[in-house]
């Protein structure tokens, strides 16, 4: 390297380590809370009595609390600690603004407190990992903006010429999470507590899983990879294995990850092309994910003997290995035929816990054991105890994921098993649940072991810091005065970027159904690849020089990251958003899907609020076995008025898309008050409070107004009639229940919920349906 910046002076700086200590403390404390809630959830599935027949302790409300706490509180605070600590050292400067750092630290905890208070009260948007209501979303956005300003400001005043690979991952995290979170949470508030999302049905599903999948990518993966790139070589005292592997896997990872979201929606009513994109990009994601694992594990060459004795390295090695396992399992589960078996089952629960407990939890433990002693200028209290934590955790994870594999595959196979007469072998849901209850016990045991390990860590860290003074590290840094690199604009419009862009454009012409265009596009793509390859070969040093340059221009780097992550979202989301929602008609010229009546709309909000989607899907897949169990496959228009969609992602209970065709009001009445009365062996909680909790039908018109503003075809005249219509429809249900011999208040939540459940699946078939190819003479319908 000949290009050294002219060093004019040096100065002494003190790092802001107090904010790091704060984040670690909150991560450890919220972490135990989040995991204990998870343990309660695990026990509730094995022993439904543990729902205690109270609203705020019921599974449907506290499972979202568990996931939010672990993702945003445990991992969130941990990754912020890692980012603030390592970035200051990698950039050789204190964070630009202590005030913004504090806004971030305390603002984030306020949000978590808000989540902990609202979710058990049933205040939720019902979008997974985006359950928080609109005013908490605004707080998240504001705190994130404070974080981003502080971070980019720090980049601007740095005293290090190049950005290290860890910083690349942090930048990708900050930019992408902002984009994902804001788009997925666009909503219109109803009142201080509730809002309706602007997207509906399939659009909403696609947006949600673009968010959900990439929250895993850019909140639980990229920042932790950044942390790995700093702390693993530090702890191993070995150089990173390969700089060029860092470059390749970073750009491949962030570009490809974004596209893979629809793998959460395989065999749903989402158009096939989007499902195929989701599957294919998941397969292509395998190598870039493993690139990170390889660079981590190969960095340990020559240091493996240390792994035996150093608990920090143990946690890192196991964490990275679990990352490798989860990122192999992910693409595997994204293959359509594998998803057909594994989706909606506990296999997915096992998969995410391999990632959360193994990758996130162990990387957190390794980070804390390494960092906390340094932040107090001391040594870890007990290495032995950390070892015990490691083994408890490892066995806990293994028990957890193996029991969930068994349970998941068992369910997948039982759901589809048919007898010789072509009927379902296991029609009774309780039989299916019964088969895996032992696995639910084992899972709870695995989780409990993991938690014991975490508690040992808390004690160990406490003994480490008790009575010690916090130490804020100081450093002598050379002031960076000039960065010699082409301007950001020149770098953005440079040849590697333009070639990549041309390649992407050529790929887009593979879009649909036109063979000639596709052939030309494919030829162009091959040509561009060859061109890029030749250039890379002939000027290899120079190309690397180009990356060296963009590492010196945070603006150019950030813009390129932004372009890389926006491409997949635009291609997948835009077609759906640009399409006008046309009301499908039946052959007889009737409207196929009518908007919900006022009672059904209120009932739907009860369904959302109780978190029914946590255990019930509303999406019948096009399989013979699902037709036999639930009825015809769900069609895309059936959820077109659903703000938000309720397709669900897990079937602890059966699918409800067509439950309205199955049971009457009295059955639902009995079943909601005590599920075991109607279905022996059911593990569903009781919902007694729905009898006493009331809805105010006079206010329903406001909901209709918002729905109309969002595009649901209610007539204005319906607003004033809403209450009357509500009472008419509720009256029919109340009368049926009175005839049956029970008295129910017309305004109770239960009546509204029953109204909604009775409606599910009662739409008319529109005129276009897809027939078997043989029956249509080989003529094929588009999707």
């Amino acid at each position: 390297m000949t290009d050294t910046a002219v060093a004019a002076s040096t100065k002494r700086i003190t790092y802001d380590d107090a904010v790091v200590r704060g984040f670690i403390l909150f991560s450890v404390v919220w972490g135990i809370v989040g995991m204990l809630v998870g343990l309660l959830c695990a026990f509730q599935l094995a022993f439904p009595a543990l729902n205690f027949d109270t609203s705020f302790l019921t599974f449907g409300r506290i499972r979202p609390l568990h996931t939010n706490a672990v993702i945003f509180a445990l991992v969130g605070n941990m990754l912020f600690a890692g980012i603030y600590h390592s970035s200051q050292r990698l950039l050789k400067t204190r964070m630009a603004s202590d005030l913004l750092s504090r806004v971030h630290l305390y603002g984030w905890q306020l949000i978590i407190l808000g989540a902990a208070l609202t979710l058990p009260l049933g205040i939720t948007q019902s979008k997974e990992y985006a359950e928080l209501e609109w005013w908490l979303d605004i707080m998240v956005a504001l705190v994130w903006v404070a974080f981003a300003i502080n971070y980019f400001w720090t980049l601007a005043v740095r005293n290090e010429k190049n950005l290290y690979v860890a910083i690349w991952f942090y930048i990708a995290t900050i930019i992408t999470i902002a984009v994902l979170y804001i788009v997925n949470n666009l909503a219109v508030p109803l009142d201080g507590m509730k809002s309706y999302g602007v997207f509906a049905g399939a659009q909403d599903a696609l947006t949600q899983w673009w968010y959900g999948h990439n929250a895993v990518a850019f909140f639980l993966t990229t920042p932790i990879l950044g942390i790995m790139y700093y702390y693993l070589p530090k702890a191993a005292e070995r150089p990173v294995y390969s700089y060029r592997l860092s470059i390749i896997h970073f750009w491949a990872l962030i570009f490809i990850y974004i596209w893979a979201g629809p793998h959460h929606l395989l065999y749903t009513a989402l158009p096939d092309w989007a499902q195929s994109l989701g599957m294919l990009f998941s397969l292509m994601l395998w190598a870039p994910s493993w690139g990170g694992m390889l660079n981590g594990l190969l960095t340990l060459r020559g240091a493996w003997h240390k792994v035996r004795t150093d608990p920090v390295l143990k946690f890192f090695v196991a964490g990275v290995t679990f990352y490798g396992m989860a990122t192999f399992e992910g693409p595997l589960l994204s293959i359509k035929s594998v998803s057909a078996l594994g989706h909606y089952t506990d296999w997915i629960i096992g998969h995410v816990h391999g990632g959360a407990l193994g990758w996130n939890g162990f990387m957190a433990a390794g980070l804390f054991y390494w960092l906390v002693p340094k932040l107090y200028g001391t040594k870890l209290h007990s290495s032995k105890l950390a070892d015990v934590h490691f083994w408890l955790g490892t066995f806990g994870i293994l028990i957890y994921i193996v029991s969930m594999w068994i349970s998941g595959v068992t369910h997948g196979l039982m759901w589809r098993a048919e007898n010789a007469d072509g009927a379902l072998e296991y029609r009774d849901w309780a039989t299916i649940i019964d088969a895996v209850i032992p696995m639910y016990h084992l899972r709870a045991l695995g989780g409990a072991l993991y938690i014991v390990g975490w508690i040992l860590m808390m004690w160990n860290l406490w003994k480490t810091v008790a009575g010690k003074k916090p130490v804020d590290a100081e450093a002598e840094v050379t002031v960076l005065e000039k960065v010699d690199a082409p301007s950001s604009v020149r770098l953005i419009f440079s040849r590697p970027v333009l070639l990549s862009f041309l390649g992407l454009v050529a790929t887009l012409f593979l879009w649909r159904n036109n063979v000639i265009v596709a052939a030309v596009a494919l030829a162009a793509l091959v040509f561009i690849c060859v061109l890029a390859w030749l250039r890379y070969q002939s000027a290899q040093r120079e190309e690397f020089r180009w990356h060296d340059y963009i590492e010196r221009r945070p603006l150019a780097f950030s813009v390129l990251v932004g372009l890389a992550i926006i491409a997949g979202g635009v291609v997948e989301l835009l077609p759906g958003l640009l399409m006008t929602r046309e009301v499908p008609m039946t052959d007889a010229g009737k409207v196929a899907v009518k908007p919900y009546t006022p009672l059904e709309l209120e009932g739907r909000d009860v369904y959302v609020s109780e978190g029914c989607y946590v255990c019930h899907s509303q999406m019948i897949r096009p399989f013979l076995s699902e037709k036999k169990r639930y009825g015809d496959p769900s069609r895309i228009e059936e959820s077109m008025w659903d703000h938000p969609f309720q397709w669900g992602s897990k079937r602890t209970g059966p699918d409800l898309a067509r439950v309205g065709q199955k049971y009457g009001a009295t059955w639902h009445y009995e079943h909601m008050l005590d599920p075991r009365r109607m279905s022996e062996g059911s593990i569903m909680p009781k919902y007694p409070w729905l009898l006493t909790d009331k809805i105010d039908p006079a206010k329903t018109k406001h909901k209709l107004k918002i729905m109309r503003a969002l595009g649901v075809p209610y007539e204005k005249e319906e607003f004033e009639l809403a209450e009357q219509k509500y009472r008419e429809q509720a009256g029919v249900i109340v009368k049926e229940l009175t005839d049956y011999g029970v008295d129910v208040d017309e305004d109770s939540k239960l009546v509204a919920l029953i109204g909604y459940l009775l409606r599910l699946g009662k739409n008319e078939k529109p005129s276009t349906t897809i027939a078997a190819p043989a029956a249509t003479n080989g003529e094929r319908k588009g999707d």
Partner: protein, 189 residues
């Protein structure tokens, strides 16, 4: 270790970040190939299913499966009419299968002896939706959704539905004690 590792020079890059150094080793060959193969497979899959459309879509595959299943079962059961269903009541095994299913599934609403609970009494002479074998079969298969009777055709499959009809034919007009009050029209047969 792969060949790529053996040719690696472990040459350190000049730069250092807070004490962290970097090698610039070659990418493992097998790793590169997993990436290349995944990309090639993806292009091929996309062209097959989405450009040439030479592969069936998920819904088309489903329609074919339904067709094949319907044909297979229709062949197995042969034609069904009032007469064939009445014949079934003489087959003990089919009636027993129907009874077992009744206790398991129908008893929730019609009680185990058919005397009725949430749903009507099936052992009296009053019927809401007809009492011929084919009418009973239709009620079971398509349900009476507005009254809370589910459609059981897909769930039970054709064989169990006919078993149930056979069993119900054997309990009708037996007037079990404690049955629900009459609903619907009286039939004399």
């Amino acid at each position: 270790m792969t060949s790529a590792d053996m040719t690696n020079s472990d040459k350190l890059r000049a730069h250092e970040f807070d004490g962290i150094r970097e090698f610039d080793n070659h990418l493992p060959k097998w790793w590169l190939w997993t990436l290349y193969l995944a990309v090639l497979f993806s292009v091929g899959y996309w062209v097959h299913y989405e450009v040439l459309r030479s592969g069936l879509s998920s819904r088309e595959r489903f329609a074919l499966a339904v067709q094949a299943d319907d044909e297979r079962i229709a062949k197995k059961l042969g034609p069904i009419s009032n007469e064939t269903l009445l014949e079934l009541t003489k087959l003990e095994s089919r009636v027993a299968a129907g009874k077992a299913e009744f206790v398991k599934t129908c008893a929730q609403c019609h009680t185990a002896n058919g005397g009725g609970g949430i749903g009507p009494n099936l052992t009296d002479k009053y019927w809401l939706h007809g009492n011929t074998p084919m009418e009973i079969k239709k009620t079971i298969e398509d349900g009476v959704v507005e009254k809370g009777m589910a459609a059981w055709k897909d769930v039970l499959g054709p064989k169990l539905v006919t078993d149930l009809v056979a069993y119900i034919l054997t309990i009708k007009n037996t007037n079990v004690p404690g049955g629900k009050e009459p609903q619907g029209e009286a039939y004399d047969n």
